[in-house]
Symmetry: C2
Subunit: 339 residues, 2 copies
């Protein structure tokens, strides 16, 4: 997975007008800011990551070696409107890094430009070959998985914040990425939702291999056990990860699943009970260590009140990992308790 390590890069935002589609760009900006030299947008784009606007040539001059596609179009494809800009990036000497389901080399214009320029087309969402069937056997080392009441509410940010928080305390910790943005941030990982379903749990097993007893893997969760489209991915990841601990991620403003207006959000308590019931199949010691509340965009006082209300209701530490503070320290304490 080393070929997924990317150095300095230019973030491509395409013609994006919906901030929710730019989460790869935002993720790299928020967690790998030092590697992002700037951003490139088409004239139609209305969303920005707030980075310097650079041409490919300017980015290359500032040490960028790749243009990273930082937006996902609905459907997961690469719109025709992006292709000239992507081909020009190759001609300007940049690799192209993509996390789309569609492979870059499926587009003839990009294949030709890559051949012409000698630059690489890097698909981080292509799983490795020869993933084994899961064994279900216990592995040494400790594991924390972030799970959620829904998709897209903070499982990746929570896992990254826990990893950095534990590392800052001197713990021996690895962040294990399972989605395209996380893989771009970490430089390695497993695009779990692109793995053939028979091998999902096996893929999670090799993502988080046996380790020293004191080592902790913090594994980025995917989907939700109660999601009508993606629960199978979540369950395979849960079984293969065999976590000792999990943190439930939740957005208090959401009352139905994102994009599924007929599907009510499950309660945090339901997610905890079900994660334990199903997670026990591969780790009888699985337990919840806390709740990560996404309060992004709230006033500080409103966020604090929201966190306090959930903390009063639940017998676990509750924190917004992105706000830090004593609540987050208590969540880190819980992750470090051995039980």
């Amino acid at each position: 997975m080393d070929n997924r390590a990317i150095g300095r890069c230019l973030l491509f935002l395409g013609d994006v007008t919906e901030p929710g589609f730019a989460k790869t760009a935002f993720g790299l900006r928020d967690w790998a800011r030092e590697r992002c030299v700037g951003e490139l947008r088409l004239p139609q784009a209305t969303v920005s990551a707030g980075l310097p606007q650079l041409t490919c040539e300017q980015a290359a001059a500032q040490g960028a070696s790749a243009l990273v596609i930082g937006v996902a179009a609905p459907g997961g494809g690469i719109p025709d409107a992006w292709v000239p800009a992507l081909a020009a990036a190759l001609d300007a000497g940049l690799d192209i890094v993509s996390g789309m389901h569609v492979r870059l080399d499926a587009l003839p214009a990009l294949r030709e430009a890559a051949a012409r320029s000698g630059r690489r087309l890097v698909d981080v969402r292509t799983p490795p070959a020869d993933i084994p069937i899961a064994t279900g056997l216990p592995r040494s080392g400790r594991r924390i998985l972030t799970v959620g009441t829904d998709c897209a509410l903070g499982k990746k940010y929570t896992a990254l914040a826990l990893s950095r928080g534990l590392a800052a305390r001197g713990a021996d910790v690895s962040f294990r990425a399972t989605g395209q943005t996380g893989i771009m941030i970490a430089g390695s990982g497993m695009p779990i939702d692109a793995v053939v379903s028979d091998f999902v749990a096996g893929a999670a097993e090799i993502l988080s291999p046996a380790a020293a007893p004191g080592h902790v893997d913090v594994i980025e969760g995917q989907g939700s056990l109660f999601h009508p489209a993606f629960a199978g991915v979540s369950l395979g990841l849960l079984h293969g990860s065999q976590p000792d601990m999990f943190v439930v991620c939740h957005d208090p403003r959401r009352d139905h699943l994102l994009g599924y207006p007929a599907s009510p959000l499950p309660s945090i308590e339901t997610v905890i009970a079900q994660t334990i019931a199903l997670g026990r199949v591969t780790n009888p010691a699985i337990h919840c260590v806390g709740v990560a509340l996404n309060t992004g965009g709230m006033d500080a006082a409103v966020a604090e009140a929201e966190i306090a209300a959930y903390a009063a209701r639940l017998p676990y530490p509750v924190a917004d990992p992105m706000r830090g503070g004593p609540a987050f320290e208590r969540l880190l304490d819980a992750c470090q308790e051995t039980s």
Copy 2:
């Protein structure tokens, strides 16, 4: 999926010495006997489906148009030792039909023989392109899913027996295959375990589309919600199938998962409770209608006592669908009750 419809065929048993690996051949023999003209074995094989031993030329003369690979080698590949016989089958004028994960055209010798003979290489385990993300929305028509306490204990046979039993009663019913053997028997279906995990529930949705209110789809289950390797497949299939009813398949002789000696079998009651809890995400009306007990190989009296013991314990009809009789009729009755 029409190109998967196969006519008269010769069953290829390779060099198989373990009956458990020959379940595709046994499935075709048991459920599509009229299409099987005979079997072809390599000298090392010790397992037989009990059909006439024919050469490819003899099979072709009896109207066979295809040689069907009826065995799975450990690992799911095609052993080198099989290749000359498979190439000879193409040269004798037969297509080759395979349900392996590996594609037939990945083997140069087969690709060349197919080109030379003009015969087809048919991979039933290749999913269709452009499977959508699941919508989770309710569909018209009724659905029955077979689920299990483990893999390989009768989910396919139960679904086939229920389909035929309901059809014999005049019901408007379709068998929906989700595995390679079922697809070969039905001539259509969805190789669900070969679908990329993000699309498993969506694949189950298109396998069993909206239908007339009185129509019943009987859907072949896969894996088990408590299987450390395959539960994600089972959950995606459950959510996408949105069954109104399910039948739990169980082998009373099994106390741990097949091939997973450290994993105890879940109880039937646990499987029922969990299938309902998770299945409610896409169908709040989901309920258990019965238990299919695999008593294959038992004396009739022993089997009857076993069935009676489970029936006394459980508030559902219990039957071995392969033995038929009044118990099976009660299971069919339960499938026809609208509730």
